[in-house]
């Protein structure tokens, strides 16, 4: 069977001016994957994410969504592709002048014809899913960092996106909440059929939920390993093993 990959990254190079962050990235994310992009701090994980979601044009190469070249389609088509994505940013990126309920409701109001009552029900449900039931009327400035992150995930899930891109979901969360978030990510994949791209260096998440992965290397500035992260523990590149075992080999 020759199935079109859900997301395909082809010959991608990310750079700031002359400084190349990552080059020659080639990988495929299949439907239903929980795809982990891992690597040390500063290796370019978030920069790669910005190329995936249309915030930063790559220096070279491109990204395909179901065969459509994201960086070389017209703006309307690009906007349509973006609507299939739900993004959770590293710092939450909640709109500070809106309450949590308004933050989650905004995509629903903009892109659906749902009645206000129905939107309120959905918002309450999404906030409950991330453990924030009852915080609807809070402003982001009244929340802790971990709560902001969870609210950001609720907003990313608002439209039941086909693809969820999540930047550092567990950092700054207590172990129990982080584990609940991992369970939620698994359930979103299993129940709603979402494809999930997770940018993280949290080992528990990488090994616990990842079905496929790439490792971005800081020295060679390119990917040095692909495949199931649990397999990388034993058979991957020594740099990857070193990373996954916290230097204890």
């Amino acid at each position: 069977m020759n199935e079109t990959p859900h997301i395909e990254i082809r010959n991608l190079t990310m750079a700031y001016g002359d400084f190349v962050i990552q080059h020659d990235l080639n990988f495929v994310v299949n439907k239903g994957d929980i795809f982990v992009i891992m690597g040390e701090n500063g290796c370019g994980k978030t920069t790669l994410m910005r190329a995936l979601i249309g915030l930063q044009r790559p220096a070279l190469g491109t990204v395909f969504y179901d065969g459509e070249d994201f960086w070389n389609v017209d703006l309307d088509q690009q906007a349509r592709l973006k609507r299939r994505l739900g993004i959770m940013f590293q710092g939450g990126a909640l709109w500070s002048s809106l309450t949590l309920a308004e933050n989650v409701a905004l995509p629903l109001k903009e892109y659906t014809d749902l009645a206000q009552r129905r939107i309120s029900d959905i918002v309450s449900f999404k906030l409950a899913l991330v453990g924030l039931a009852g915080f609807e009327d809070f402003y982001p400035s009244e929340l802790s960092g971990g709560m902001k992150k969870r609210a950001s995930l609720a907003r990313a899930m608002a439209l039941d996106p086909e693809i969820l891109v999540i930047d550092e979901p567990s950092s700054g969360l207590d172990p129990l909440t982080a584990s609940r978030l991992d369970d939620l990510i698994l359930e979103l994949r299993d129940s709603l059929g979402a494809t999930i791209v997770v940018i993280t260096h949290e080992l528990a998440s990488i090994l616990g939920i990842g079905t496929n992965s790439i490792f971005l290397d800081n020295e060679s500035h390119t990917m040095i390993n692909t495949g199931n992260p649990r397999e990388a523990l034993t058979s991957g590149d020594p740099r990857v093993r070193h990373f996954l075992t916290r230097g204890v080999t």
């Binding site: 129905r118 039931a133 039941d160 609940r180 129940s191």
Partner: protein, 384 residues
């Protein structure tokens, strides 16, 4: 009872069947497509059925072809309604994924204590609150003024701790970089003043006194006032935004925890820079304004440049410059004070930074206007 999608009978659309089975069991059958792109039923649809005495609800979803958050939100509302009425729910008939997600949504109990009651407030209440806030803000403003005074005391006694490089950077930022905007505004104000004067003085054949009007007006009052207002909009807002962002990023807290005074490190260089540069900018603005008067008089009103120059020299005295410079210093201090005050009072959100910048400009211009009036009266009484 059967409910269907209201718009067409396509079998892919949702369908809801409710029937009593036995004494106290209500069976809810959901079939078809229960997704957000459908006009799904609200909980009120089955509320009437639930009003009849019953003890349990079960589900039949064997004909359910697709579902998403729309279905989950419907069920969540149903669950909370049942919880309020003490009705037992049997979730076995629901798809596995639905049961898991509903379990996750109820895993962390709702923080009822956190729920806010936002009441609509009357105009009377809002005006009262604003007045109280204003008077509560006054001691805070005085406290900040006191802190700055103490910090200046430390500077004079050589104990203030700040980086001199910050001061030079601020001087460059607030002085030379403001020259273009000060030049443009002063040129235009000088031009307006000359035209205004010429129009009135022509009536009595004394057009040469345009030079007196422009020179004394720019040097004593308008040069300093315009510079103060320009700097309030340009630099005061920038100070508030810089310090406000530092509040958001906890940079000011980091100073405090290190035992360093944020007033010394952040406010003092800004105050000094503006107090030094605004008088110089005032002087510069006055000369540009006089130049505009000269150009207008020479080209439009046929007054020779030499005559205008002599009349200007005759009109100006040292005291006029001293008045202008002292006003410039005060306005500079006011702008720095307002900008730093609002920045240090800033909250911890992006919105607060915007509010701080706006408030800095408003406070700065208001205080400048009050100071200008007071100083004009004082100088008049002193005969200066």
């Amino acid at each position: 009872m059967t409910f269907t999608h209201p718009h067409n009978s396509d079998e892919r659309k949702w369908q809801l069947d409710i029937h009593h089975n036995g004494n106290d069991l209500l069976v809810v059958s959901c079939s078809g497509r229960w997704c957000l792109d459908q006009d799904l039923p609200s909980i009120e649809t089955i509320q009437v059925e639930m009003d009849n005495a019953l003890g349990r609800i079960s589900f039949n979803t064997t004909q359910l072809s697709a579902w998403d958050t729309g279905f989950l939100a419907f069920l969540q509302s149903l669950l909370s309604l049942c919880a309020q009425r003490g009705i037992t729910i049997d979730q076995d008939g629901l798809p596995k994924g639905v049961r898991h997600l509903l379990a996750m949504a109820t895993a962390v109990p709702e923080q009822k204590a956190a729920k806010k009651r936002r009441k609509k407030q009357s105009l009377f209440f809002q005006v009262g609150s604003a007045t109280i806030d204003f008077f509560r803000g006054a001691p805070e403003m005085l406290h900040f003024l006191g802190e700055i005074t103490v910090s200046f005391g430390r500077l004079i006694s050589g104990r203030a701790r700040f980086r001199w490089s910050d001061l030079w950077w601020e001087i460059e930022e607030v002085g030379p970089r403001a020259l273009i905007i000060v030049s443009v505004i002063s040129l235009l104000v000088g031009l307006i003043l000359a035209y205004l004067g010429a129009d009135q003085l022509r009536l009595v054949g004394a057009q040469i006194f345009i030079a007196d009007l422009v020179a004394i007006g720019m040097v004593r009052e308008i040069g300093a006032l315009m510079t103060g207002i320009i700097i309030a909009g340009r630099t005061g807002a920038a100070f508030a935004a810089q310090l406000g962002t530092m509040q958001v990023n906890e940079e000011i807290d980091a100073f405090k925890t290190l035992g360093l005074s944020p007033i010394d490190f952040l406010v003092l260089p800004r105050m000094l820079a503006l107090m030094m540069m605004v008088p110089l900018l005032t002087l510069y603005a006055s000369f540009v304004g006089m130049l505009a008067g000269l150009l207008v008089s020479a080209t439009i009103f046929n007054i020779s440049m030499f005559e205008y120059y002599n009349e200007t020299l005759r009109a100006l005295e040292l005291k006029h410059f001293l008045v202008g410079l002292s006003k410039g210093s005060v306005y500079g201090a006011i702008v720095a004070y307002a900008g730093c005050l609002r920045g240090m009072q800033c909250g911890r959100s992006a919105e607060s930074v915007g509010e701080a910048a706006t408030s800095a400009v408003v406070t700065g211009i208001l205080l400048i206007t009050i100071a200008a009036s007071l100083m004009t009266i004082i100088f008049y009484q002193l005969g200066i």
